[in-house]
């Protein structure tokens, strides 16, 4: 992608935005300058808390209360946006500068029909007659390729899928042909195939309308896919900027290098199959159906078959990935394995014993051998319990004397790379990555033979993610653990898994070694998943 050199439509100079007192730093962004040219896609990249969305909110005049620009300029169309009155800004919003957001569900008013929400943009700027607005809305929905636009106009947001809602948001932003489109993490909440479609749409629309796009993201894969130019932010400052090629292929700043290195590579080693005569875990014919509604006074019953006749085998010391998009049933499988959810049918043999049909005391002691690591590092630790107690609780419940259990907890903390002084502290004193280490220590406390990791690194920033993945790989080797790794992220799966099962709509559509899955996917769905991985093409080009 070549950027067209022209007069910038938007120029930010030495922008500084102050945070309210008591925040973890004084300025949300400090000394930030960049330009946005017509017809160009600029990616602002950074991890959470880097201040990457702040300058965009400042140019829209949509900063949160108590957060104020304290220095600098934002030049647009010959005027400094920071000096404009609210009424002048309002005239620009939606007409000259438009914005789309991360969560298309919460960004749409749940009580208004799609048509009304889009035509409101014209109304806000007193343009067109009601009839023309309707016609234009239909055109816009056609342009963003919503299936059955006539019907979508009459729909409420909850009746559309995530991808469709984001298309509606884009239609709304395009309504008045703005000069600048700000996209704030617009694909983060979407599945990988939907993400690929939305990225393509934004790309096409830029080509067709020639607007400048400011694309805010944390994901270097997305950057590789869409950016013309890149600015990398850390702690409120721009640490590096340049064309996409410069930044991705030849990063200058340490932080950028670290971020890019932390991205799991889309390359699975070809390796000897770990073969073990008897598998430690064997799943046969597992089924799970959700029923909601119904009952005495509920409406009609809804039935969702989340898991349909799944068969899996896991050898000792092996890592099996279960990969799928949201709604594929991958998490339901994990939860059925440990009986946090009751399977409707099928067997789960753990070291020869059928977990799916145990009850009471037998289930309790069988569960010692199969433990779980959870997704959300903030919800997975009881905020009112000290770390030591959190780790020791399991062994104590199984009759280990408290003193022994606490001594063991201290050892485990060191094993997962935390200081044993953590024993007497509460979860809120730790960062997300550290909490996830505590979660791992807790899972290890019962000396399990199988660990289920359910999206265990999905909530972490990419640099932390890399560290936790390394820790898991290391522990697995040292303790000869078998690991079931459930994830939506194919890059992560490629890095850590020996074998991968791809799930779609409750079924395993393909299962094989990680190497085979990535290099010779058999099913059409697996192929489409792999093709949708952002940044893949660029990586392939670089590798060859």
């Amino acid at each position: 992608m070549t950027s067209t050199p022209s007069e910038p439509v938007l120029r930010i100079e030495d922008l500084q935005i102050a945070l309210p007192e008591g925040a973890d730093r004084a300025f949300a962004v400090d000394d930030v300058s960049y330009e946005l040219n017509a017809g160009e896609i600029l990616c602002i990249v950074g991890e959470s808390g880097s201040g990457k969305s702040m300058s965009a909110n400042a140019m829209m005049g949509l900063l949160p209360d108590q957060v104020r620009p304290t220095a600098g300029h934002i030049f647009f169309d010959g005027q400094d946006l920071l000096t404009l009155s609210e009424a002048e800004l309002r005239d620009l919003r939606g007409r000259r500068i438009a914005m789309i957001f991360q969560e298309p569900m919460s960004a749409l008013n749940p009580l208004m029909r799609i048509e009304d929400q889009i035509s409101e943009v014209f109304e806000a700027h007193n343009l067109l007659t009601p009839k023309e607005r309707r016609a234009r809305t239909l055109e816009l929905l056609n342009e963003v390729q919503i299936p059955d636009p006539e019907k979508a106009m009459q729909a409420y947001p909850f009746q559309l899928s995530g991808g469709q809602r984001q298309r509606v948001m884009i239609a709304m932003a395009l309504a008045l042909e703005p000069d600048v489109l700000i996209a704030d993490e617009p694909t983060t909440a979407l599945d990988v195939t939907t993400q690929a479609q939305i990225l393509e749409l934004i790309h096409d629309l830029r080509d067709r309308h020639g607007m400048a796009v400011m694309f805010i993201t944390h994901d270097f894969g997305v950057v590789a896919e869409i950016a013309d130019r890149v600015a990398v932010m850390q702690f409120g400052k721009i640490v590096e900027k340049g064309t996409a090629e410069e930044v991705l292929d030849n990063p200058q700043h340490d932080y950028t290098r670290k971020l890019i290195a932390a991205i799991p590579k889309l390359h699975a080693e070809k390796q000897e199959m770990v073969t073990s005569p008897t598998p430690i875990l064997e799943v046969i014919g597992l089924c799970k159906t959700y029923r909601s509604g119904g009952g005495l006074f509920g409406g009609p019953e809804r039935v969702v078959k989340a898991v349909k006749m799944i068969n899996l085998k896991l050898a000792e010391g092996e890592t099996l990935g279960i990969v799928g998009e949201s709604g594929s049933g991958k998490s339901s499988v994990g939860r059925c394995l440990v009986r946090l959810m009751e399977p409707d049918a099928g067997s789960v043999f753990l070291a020869g014993e059928d977990m799916a049909h145990l009850k009471g005391e037998k289930l309790r002691s069988a569960r010692k051998s199969i433990q779980m690591i959870f997704q959300d590092p903030f919800a997975s630790l009881n905020p009112r319990t000290k770390i030591g107690r959190i780790i020791a609780e399991g062994p104590i419940a199984h009759g280990v004397p408290a003193q022994v259990a606490f001594a063991k907890a201290a050892e485990l903390l060191e094993l997962v790379g935390l200081d044993k002084s953590a024993l007497d502290r509460y979860p809120h004193e730790f960062s997300g990555g550290q909490r996830q280490r505590v979660g791992i220590a807790r899972a290890l406390a019962l000396e399990p033979r199988v660990i289920i990791a359910d999206e265990a690194v999905s909530a972490l920033d990419v640099s932390i993610q890399a560290q936790v993945l390394d820790l898991l790989a290391d522990l697995k080797a040292r303790l000869n653990l078998a690991l079931v790794f459930i994830t939506h992220d194919l890059r992560v799966a490629a890095q850590i898994c020996d074998r991968i099962a791809v799930m779609q709509k409750g079924e395993v559509v393909e299962i094989g070694t990680a190497h085979d899955i990535f290099n010779a996917p058999q099913s059409a769905y697996t192929q489409s998943l792999i093709e949708a991985i952002p940044g893949r093409e660029k990586e392939l080009a670089a590798a060859s």
């Binding site: 919003r93 960004a107 749409l108 208004m112």
Partner: protein, 322 residues
């Protein structure tokens, strides 16, 4: 929608049957002979009447049979007989019901309209003196006993200022006709309805204010601003409509409390409704009347709940679809 209403009616019927059963067991749990309890204060009724009651309700038969007889009576809208007033309880109640409906409906409308308006106003000026004023007044109303507010209103507006009547439903011996009568009743209605509504006004105000502030932090409000919409339109179209949902739910629950509050208001203002009837029955220990009023007020609550549920479905498309 029809299916939904049918379902809700079945549910309401079950609750009513449960209330009747509760009434039945209360009569039996009360100290003393159930027949005497039904007749009113022990010892006041004559033996022939007591015998008649024992016969009618099969008080010498097993408890379940008795429950059946009692339920059977209620289904035919027979709420028993008031020995004290020498009238069927149902007649007593239905005579007085219109006055109570007028009072509670007026109080409901006053409190809902003024309460939500004040809440919207306060949320629009959050932190300013007008917000502080509205919130403080609401806090005071919220802490004021209904009956005391009523007494003070009588003292100020009726006794001291002589602006409004503080007693009864219409002017005794006024013999007004047509529009004059309506105006006369309206004048009598102002103080009772306003004082009955004060507490709920405070509740709706606080709820609306909190709900408006909560909704205005949601993402779709930011979207609306990003479109370039005027703040007044954003407030009305996006914030207010969404903020109203919890208020509607609350209104359904609160409506029931109005009926209970009416006992106090009607007592102070000598308003001839079922609340006043309940107060009189209390003094005379006329339990049949007491339980009858309780039953009818529960039925009114169920009706209010049904109306707000339907309203909620009209406002919220998500509920409608499910």
């Amino acid at each position: 929608m029809l299916r939904f209403i049918a379902m809700r009616l079945v549910k309401a019927a079950i609750i009513l049957i449960a209330i009747v059963t509760l009434n039945f067991f209360l009569i039996h749990a009360a100290p003393g002979d159930p027949a005497a309890v039904m007749a009113g204060e022990a010892g006041a009724a004559d033996d022939i009447f007591l015998e008649q009651l024992r016969e009618q309700f099969g008080l010498d038969k097993p408890l379940l049979t008795q429950l059946g007889l009692y339920l059977g009576g209620i289904i035919q809208l027979d709420l028993g007989f008031s020995y004290r007033q020498q009238m069927p309880v149902a007649d007593l109640i239905f005579d007085r019901l219109p006055a109570t409906l007028l009072l509670t409906m007026t109080a409901f409308v006053i409190s809902l309209v003024l309460g939500t308006l004040a809440g919207v106003l306060a949320s629009a000026r959050v932190g300013k003196w007008s917000d502080t004023l509205i919130s403080t007044v609401a806090l005071l109303f919220y802490a004021t006993p209904l009956y005391w507010a009523a007494l003070m209103a009588v003292l100020i507006f009726s006794v001291q200022l002589n602006w409004l009547p503080g007693f009864g439903y219409e002017t005794v011996g006024g013999n007004y006709e047509g529009l004059d009568r309506v105006i006369d009743i309206a004048k009598h209605l102002i103080l009772p309805a306003t004082t009955l509504g004060l507490f709920f006004m405070a509740v709706y105000m606080r709820m609306t204010r909190a709900s408006m502030l909560e909704v205005s932090t949601l993402d779709f409000v930011k979207t609306a601003r990003a479109k370039g919409l005027k703040p007044s339109i954003i407030q009305r179209r996006h914030v207010f409509r969404n903020a109203l949902l919890p208020v509607v739910t609350l209104a359904g629950l609160q409506a029931g409390q109005l009926v209970g509050g009416a006992v106090l208001t009607e007592t102070v203002f000598a308003w001839p409704g079922i609340g006043r009837l309940m107060f009189e029955a209390l003094a005379q220990r006329d339990y049949n009347v007491l339980l009858g009023v309780f039953f009818v007020s529960a039925a009114m609550v169920l009706l209010f709940n049904l109306i707000t549920d339907i309203l909620y479905r009209v406002v919220d498309p998500r509920i409608r679809a499910s």
